[in-house]
Assembly symmetry: D2
Homo-oligomer: 253 residues x 4
């Protein structure tokens, strides 16, 4: 075992994302998979296995304890589990201040393309007169619009407001059935549901004579793994809490 | 002057569409422009000029008299003017039964691409599990969804019902702001408004493992002229009333 | 067992397409799976099981014998196997003339969306000044352009020539590296290879002021099964040989 | 006249871009148009009119003298004229070192959307396994691929090489007619020519399970004016030479 090696314990290893992560870490030449934990397994295994990093893909009621355990043992953490509200984040930040060498990444989305698309959309939104979002998903999805689309629209709307951009022009007077969709932070958001699709998003920006379109297609949860590996490779060099994978990308946005 | 020649009088020649039509007829090698009429000009000019066809791009309160005048004089008519309700159409059909050699085309849309897109969408809709429509227009448009999108959705919805296809699956339970858009004949229709755009429509059809997309972009009213010329070239060989340019296309749909 | 039932034997049942077909037939309420044959299994099983139809997804050197066996026993056939050259097709047609009640469908492509996209493209091509094809596939594909794109371009090119349409305008004088792509029947064809994709095709048609785009996305071989089932439901009512699934669609194109 | 005002002389004012610039400056509330110069007009007019900025949209053999004249008189310059080779740029930089308060922007492209699309593409290219470019233009264009597409591919290719990314995977063995297009810095570039289009570009990035698409559509040269105005508003605060409008955008890329 070399000191430089990234020794990874996967938590939530029996879920679908967990199984993908186990495979991805196993396939990565610069990493070693040292433990796989599921619900009920003892956290001590992480330490006994000599893990330098955890990937936490467990459930909302377990993730806080998992991450705190890692931090207390000087182990870096890449976290895809949900349920991190402001209170939990604040408690984690307090703990991290006592362990200044440990890096934790909490990322609601590990798809690099999606993270880039959102960052680009937020950046570009201030330079165009009009901005809208269309998200397209499989028809089994229960909420509309998607969380990613709502967050993208929020970031775009805020960037436009900060730059003093007026709301997108819209002369609509008659729309009895709601064809213009939802409005999030002054940005219209449309949700399409179509059999055959997985998760897709299109940001449309328009000015006189030109249009910029930023589209992300997610076909498979395999798309999350490059982001997870990037997280693992970067966490040790970014002590403290990073929220969102974009914090690890060299975007300068 | 050859007998075979298409000799065209343009009515409503001083409007924007009329001016385009005057230009298009002038440029067509197999046609001759013989008269340009605006509001207040005497209809007799059409006959005196020896017109074999009229293009009527006048206003709703003039078009019926214009077309009846043409039919009574054995002149074929290609009509883009609006305002043809069922009553006027019925009266016209009665008149045409007395002039069995005359052909009249009344077309709400002369853009070949748009007419084809709608026909293909209506045809394909029955073969897919899911179907939605997204229309995109300039932000000065006052109504949503567009008339073309509503008509496309109607035709798609009816074709699906006639073929016994179930409504598109949709598990949405939470959509507080209406992101799912309008519903026309069981088809969800979304309206985007964006500076820089003109008139665009995308029909999305999905089944397990595949998607079919039929998109039409209208950048300029120049796009109507090939349809007007096709109408003029075809009217004499299609006696009676034809409603919609698709009736002149060899679609068999 | 009811006489009306479609009783299906799947040949080539152990391949990937075959396994999908076995599942699809099993799931179809109006069908019964009566036999699954792989390489080396005796064809007599088909008759003994009382099959009314076969789905042949076997290999090029077996498919002709399989289909002839079926026809000789009055069994309808839906064939996805490749290797049917003109000579084999001609021999099959001779055999079918002796069995006038039997229907055989040989289809190089069972994806309904792809078949519709090709038919629409061939139909629309004659109405536009410009026409090109872009196909996009996974990077493991060894040939470019794809067979489907080449066939689509051929059909489009022939339809344009039959209608007297001039080749697409192109003022290109300088293209040292071949960015304009391949030319098939006067239609430019471009091939993109991208990790993450499966099989996609975009037909682009342009005239002054407008564009028509027909795009098909194939994400998964599940997309072939609705076409296979449609073939099984239709074969008995279409005696003789039908080449291409479009022959079973009510396209009138 | 207020000191803060941007007082603009437009050079090359009788060309099509020049006429657009005259209009745009006239319409801008924070600017005053003080002179319009065409071929043969005396440069002294610029100084006599009290210009603080020039917009130079003249021709390759005049632009260097125009810009040097402006710099020598302490006037900022926004330059869209072409013909700036390394030698001219080097001479200009020498001159600017003697006038440290003057700002000059030389921009091959003033469309904000296009500049953003290129910057985003160059940034994102390093995070994906595959990368290609498709550009689409009107059929009167004489060169393929477009200069913008070639430059985008160059920037993407260099960014990938700098980040140690392998060339895009490609198993193509058989491509007799060149469907795979041109290759620029290991990036495949495809050129479509279609009546009805103006200038469009699509950057396609793919990894396992996901795709990122960045598309820019230029419908009209009106799209250049927001970039010209942004240049005029920014030049005074960016002394020295800036090459490319992206240098004035807060991209941090």
């Amino acid at each position: 075992m070399s000191d430089a090696e990234i020794r990874v314990a996967v938590l939530g290893a029996r879920g679908r994302m967990g199984a993908e992560a186990v495979q991805a870490v196993t396939d990565a030449e610069d990493m070693q998979l040292v433990a796989e934990l599921g619900r009920g397994d003892a956290r001590e295994t992480i330490v006994e296995a000599g893990a330098t990093h955890i990937v936490d893909l467990s459930v909302p009621d377990a993730t806080e304890d998992n991450v705190r355990f890692a931090v207390e043992h000087g182990i870096h953490a890449v976290v895809g589990a949900t349920g991190w509200d402001d209170e939990k984040l604040s408690r984690l930040q307090d703990l991290l201040s006592e362990h200044p060498d440990v890096g934790v990444l909490i990322a609601p989305n590990f798809a690099l393309g999606s993270v880039l698309a959102t960052a680009f959309a937020a950046k570009a939104a201030q330079y165009f007169e009009s901005a809208e979002v269309v998200e397209l998903h499989h028809p089994n999805k229960v909420d509309a619009p998607s969380g990613t689309a709502a967050r993208t629209a929020q970031l775009m709307g805020r960037a436009r407001r900060d730059a003093g951009v007026a709301p997108s022009p819209d002369a609509t007077q008659k729309d009895p059935d709601g064809a213009r969709g939802a409005v999030v932070e002054d940005i219209h958001v449309h949700a399409v549901r179509l059999r055959g699709l997985v998760a897709h998003q299109e940001v449309l920006l328009g000015s006189p004579g030109e249009q910029l379109t930023i589209r992300h297609d997610s076909f498979d949860r395999a798309s999350f793994m490059p982001g997870v590996l990037l997280g693992l490779r970067t966490a040790a060099s970014r002590p403290g809490l990073t929220h969102g994978l974009d914090g690890y990308l060299d975007l300068g946005l």
